[in-house]
Symmetry: C2
Subunit: 258 residues, 2 copies
């Protein structure tokens, strides 16, 4: 005998313990093989993609809600995480897309009730992580949780594409105050990797020689030996961050890039 409903309710929100008009969306950025990626969720049974997000418990700090969501998706405990904007749209584009999605949710997950019909204000959080450190786990509504190159993101629900754009713009503008290197690079890395990271964020090429000299002069890098696995060329040094010095420079907002 076939089940009557091919999409039985597998998801239950404890709605009574959540703030009814505020949510969190996370733009989780990773860097791998020379490109920036964002963590996105593929919905169960539905042709929808979205950012990892969630709701805030009645007695939970907003930042803690973001941390919890991040930990649930990536397993990470102490990632770099900061809010970058609160999106307060009441209607317009968001609502028009939402109506389709609401229908889909209603028919597939009737147990959620009218929760998704609430009007939510959502705070966008930016996280920067090392993909290799993550143990990706989709949420109850999703079938998978994957890294997608920022240059080639699928269409996301609501205004999530715009949220990603704004997160990237934030990173670009706040570059001198964000721990991009420390958060996105592995423990040791070559100067070429470091420069490529900056170039993918800034969207422009940097002079190799000047980048190298500037970074070294800041005094936050420690040489860790040589990487002997490249091709037919000089083996580059490996570097790691002097975390104390790095933090000190960041707080003073001393620029890595003018």
């Amino acid at each position: 005998m076939e089940p009557l409903n091919p999409y039985p309710p597998r998801f239950m929100l404890n709605v009574d313990k959540l703030l009814p008009c505020h949510s969190v969306d996370c733009v989780i950025i990773g860097y791998d093989k020379g490109a920036l990626s964002v963590l996105v969720l593929k919905w169960k049974d539905l042709p929808l993609w979205s950012l990892p997000g969630g709701f805030i418990k009645i007695d939970e700090h907003l930042d803690d809600a973001a941390l919890r969501i991040l930990k649930d998706r990536t397993g990470l405990d102490m990632p770099f995480l900061t809010q970058f904007h609160t999106f307060g749209q009441a209607g317009g584009k968001r609502m028009s897309v939402e109506s389709d999605i609401r229908e889909l949710i209603k028919s597939n997950y009737p147990s959620i009730g009218t929760w998704f019909e609430n009007r939510f204000i959502t705070t966008g959080y930016l996280a920067m992580v090392q993909p290799s450190e993550c143990r990706l786990v989709p949420d109850e509504l999703s079938e998978s949780c994957v890294w997608m190159p920022i240059k080639d993101l699928p269409e996301l629900i609501y205004d999530h594409n715009a949220i990603v754009d704004q997160a990237i713009a934030h990173v670009k503008r706040q570059l001198n105050y964000l721990p991009v290197g420390k958060s996105l690079l592995p423990e040791t890395f070559t100067m070429k990797t470091f420069k490529l990271l900056y170039e993918s964020i800034l969207g422009r090429e940097l002079d190799r020689a000047n980048f190298q000299k500037k970074m070294l002069k800041l005094g936050m890098l420690t040489r860790r030996g040589k990487e002997n696995k490249g091709g037919a060329h000089k083996a580059p040094y490996l570097y790691s961050f002097d975390h104390d010095k790095y933090q000190e420079l960041l707080e003073k907002g001393i620029g890595f890039i003018p």
Copy 2:
């Protein structure tokens, strides 16, 4: 015959049409006589000071709520207004102060009911205005609405003092991207006034000659004649902004100050 309740309900919130867990607090900054000031409200009948704030209507954009609150207090239609942080505290300091205030509100404004017992997430908005352009109007809970020098603010309710501090820190850090001159200075001004404004924001002295040359070189100032009312000294030029050029420089984030 005396009224039974010396504090009759004079204030009614249309609670049904408001988001129940989100509010807006405005740090409205003005500049006058060489000092930065913030607009604060003195509560009716209570020894309390607070920032202008309010709630968001169900179908209102968060930014529009902030605009509405700002217009209600100052009469201004097109001020510079931007959000700078969303405060998501669930308990701690905020709640402990809040309990006193809740008692006061309950006994004095019983019609409000338990609204103020909700847990609110609040988005801080920064506005920069010219005090001389404002027609100050207190809100329903307040008896007055006044400019207070930032250096000498009274103790404010909740965590409003911390919100002000964070707003100022935001202005300092984002100085090169915020229209401080255009927003805070009158139509015409002397270079000395302009420099004093930057000095009060940055909290340090700037070289007079270099400041002047740099600002002139940017090409956003128009000379408007001389100010002939000073003391025994050379009369300074008056300047005004070339608004198009000013906007262009701001968007590119070209620095006024390195």
